[in-house]
Every structure is written in C-alpha cells, then in structure tokens.
Point group: C2
Chain length 253, copies 2
C-alpha cells in the first residue's frame, strides 16, 4: 500500500509571481490540483483510472489559507491526503511547506465524481473500497472549512467579464484557476500594497463557457473580508435570469 500522503516539490519561478515577488495564488492552485491528481492516480483512483469508466473528478470547493506567502525562487512542497469520504463527496486536505518543513499554510477541497454521460455525481461507495484505506482523518489540517460567502441585497456589481479564448481549458469550460485570477483582479495594486491576502474560499456552482458574460457582485461583509458571487445570465428557460457560477470569500489582513 502506498503512503497515505503524496508530496510534490516545487519552486517559485519569476514568471509565477506578482509585483510583490510573491507566488500567485493561481499558480499555487494549479500545484494543489496537480498534487491531488498525483495522489489519486498513484493509488488507483486518478482521473485516468476513472476516465476509462467515463467518469471525471470535479472540484466543488477549495479553501486555501496562507500565513506566509512563498517568494520568488523559494522552494516549497505540497502534500495531500484524503480526510473523509461521504456518499457523493470526498474531502482532501493539503499542507504547503517550505523546503525545511516550515508551514506556509494549508488547503481544504471537496470533490465529486461525475459521469460524463449523465453529468450526475456518483456514489463514492463504489470507489470506497479503493479509497477508504487512504482516508486519514488523524492528519491535522488546522484551517477552518469553507464558511460560505453570503451576499446581502446591497452587494454591488463591481465588474463584468466576457469569457475569452484564454479562459477556456481542455475541458471546454472556464479554467478553475482563471476564476482565481479574475477574483484577485477585483482589488487594486494600492490595496495589495497595504494588505496581504490570507485566505480564499471558492465554491464552484455552474460551468461557464466561451462568450458568457460573467457578472461579479461583491460586498465587504466584515473588515477586509470580501464575499463575491459570480453570476451569468441564463436564457435556457425562455426568460433571462441571473444564475450563480461561483461564490468566493477573500480574506485580507
């Protein structure tokens, strides 16, 4: 049996940093997704293992919290383990540490397994036999779970964005980490100069596609805590209505 955790080693490239010479959260997010895939595929339930059966893993929620952000040329490691499995969801945690083991931070994620044909989530009990021996609730992930963005009626529409060619990934929809980029672009350079992003929560609700117009609604629900809902216009029912694509909470300090 493979170890319960999988670790990948990375370093911060000059092209993966912002103007403060700090690792971008998009690049960190991609590393987290790669680490998850490495863990699953080496244990028989990766995207290729389940793809053969016409299934794919879908990210439902992601929370990343960093007490310290890796800087240009820093080496860092991402480790992951499965924390729990429910009927249609599995929870996977991550630690992000420096080369010497000092923690930068942690992440929590929730996944479901979707059938390509029915687009419905599968009962993970079918995979549980394979996954359950790796479930490791004893490993500590000391950040709080997804808390849920809740916008009040006075949330402001702060940006509209038309989905472009470069947003679309090999699955034909907007790349999950491109949302992170667009969310971070809601804040000015001046705001980043005075504040550090500490935590991002993402809840993926609906896919968006090329040419979709995304509407960003934002509200500062607590000091330096911003709740965002990305919506798009759904015309499928004959009448136009705004439907949620993603909810996010961004916490600065």
């Amino acid at each position: 049996m493979a170890a319960k955790t999988e670790t990948i080693e990375l370093s911060v490239d000059a092209f993966d940093t912002d103007y403060k010479r700090q690792l971008t959260w998009e690049t960190l997010g991609v590393g987290i997704l790669k680490c998850a895939e490495a863990h699953a595929s080496r244990r028989g339930f990766g995207i290729y293992n389940v793809n053969g059966e016409n299934h794919t893993w879908v990210l439902a929620r992601l929370v990343i919290e960093l007490n310290n952000t890796p800087k240009v040329y820093d080496e860092y490691k991402i480790s992951t383990w499965v924390e729990s499995i429910y009927r249609i969801f599995s929870n996977r945690c991550f630690s992000i540490t420096g080369a010497d083991g000092t923690p930068y931070g942690y992440a929590r994620s929730t996944w479901s397994l979707i059938s390509y044909s029915s687009r419905k989530a599968l009962d993970l009990n079918d995979l549980k036999g394979m996954m359950s021996e790796y479930v490791s609730p004893e490993i500590e992930c000391p950040i709080t779970d997804y808390s849920g963005a809740r916008l009040g009626g006075n949330a402001q529409q702060v940006m509209t964005y038309k989905v472009k060619y470069s947003d679309i990934d090999l699955n034909g929809h907007t790349n999950s980490m491109k949302y992170m980029e667009h969310l971070r672009d809601l804040f000015t350079l001046d705001y980043y100069s005075k504040n550090r992003l500490r935590r991002v929560e993402l809840q993926y609700i609906r896919e968006s596609f090329y040419d979709d117009v995304l509407l960003f609604y934002m509200q500062e629900t607590r000091e330096k805590t911003f709740d965002v809902e990305i919506r798009k216009t759904d015309k499928s029912s004959g009448t136009e209505k705004e439907v949620p694509v993603l909810r996010s909470r961004l916490c600065f300090e």
Copy 2:
C-alpha cells in the same frame, strides 16, 4: 568552456493547454525565456551576473514559429544559442523539439542590456569577451527574422484593455507573456477551430503599467496574417497622444 547550446526539458501540463489540448503560446514563451536565462547564467552573463552591476537583460523582439504544436502530456525540449552580437543588441535563437528530436518549431529573439539607473542600453562589447566564445552562427535557425508589423491608416481599434493586478510582474510592468495572452484573445474560439496559429512576432517598444489603458489596433494585412499595434495614451508632454507599446504580427494557416 560550457557547450554552445543549453537545453531544458519540459512537458505539457493539462493546465497549460487551450481548449484544443494544445500547449499555450504563453507557456511556451515562458519556457523560451527560462531557457535563455539558464544558458546565460551558466555562462557568466545571466541576469544575476549582470544584476550585480545594476544591469538587466531586456527583450526587444521575439519571433516564434511552430509547424506543429505540442499537445497535452507531450514531452518537449527547448534549446538555445547566441547567434550574433552587435553593439547594443544580441540575437539568440531557439529550437523546440519533441522528446525524440523531431522539431516542433523555432524561435528568434533580440535582447539588449539596460542600466537600471540610466535606463539606457549598454555597449555589449563590455560583455563580448565573455559572450563571444559562445556565438554560434553555424547552428541553423530555419525561420525568418522579425518582419515588422505595419498597420495602414485603416487599422481598426478592436479592443481596449485596462492593465490589471494580474498583468504586473516582479519588475512592476506588464509581463511580456501577458501581451501574448491578450493578443491571442483578439480571435474567437470559432477562428481557432478553423485555423492554426503558426507564427507570432512581438516587438516590445514601451513598458505599460498598472491602470494603463491599452488600445489594440488590428488589420489583416495578408490572408490570415494580422498586424497589431498596442498603444497607450501618453500625457507626459501635457497634451494627450497615443504612443506604441508593442507591435505584433500573428500568422495563421
């Protein structure tokens, strides 16, 4: 003496592909720049060697031409060598090949060495003693040099773009490869479905900064060949005038 060429090995990650499952030109461009830095730094004239003297290498032109585009999970190599040195410019070429050596394509680039304090280009004869032993005009780079975008008076303004937080790199200006992304976003998904991007030319003229509004002018100067000029409004002289930031030619087939 180190070899005249330096080679780095890469593979196409799922997150670095477009909807056609092909490597994005931005990611390839970053690989090219990394390969250039690896070549220079291992031979005594990299950014760190010259940085100590308060100088930095600046990319003036880049041409990439691909007869075939690497696809998701393909392994590929980038090799680079110095083709020639002039007074204030050096030309560096690249080959992009598959793991088995089959060429995907080539690239050409022109660089100058700038003083941080004066912002002026330095005479490369000062470095020539170190660089000249690596000049390798005998290695073939079978693509044509920068040909120069030339827009006529009837070029259309096709996009405006306000420079965002995510565009700004650790040098405080718009990341050179973010321009590539914005240029590629001038074309629709439908256009990409019917045409393959074969060649991109980039000429960097002026820096742009956070909150600058970039104006994209475009003209199809030959069938499937698009010349683009990115301009911004300069107010430094007291009167507003549009000044060029970048010129580009994109050739599809």
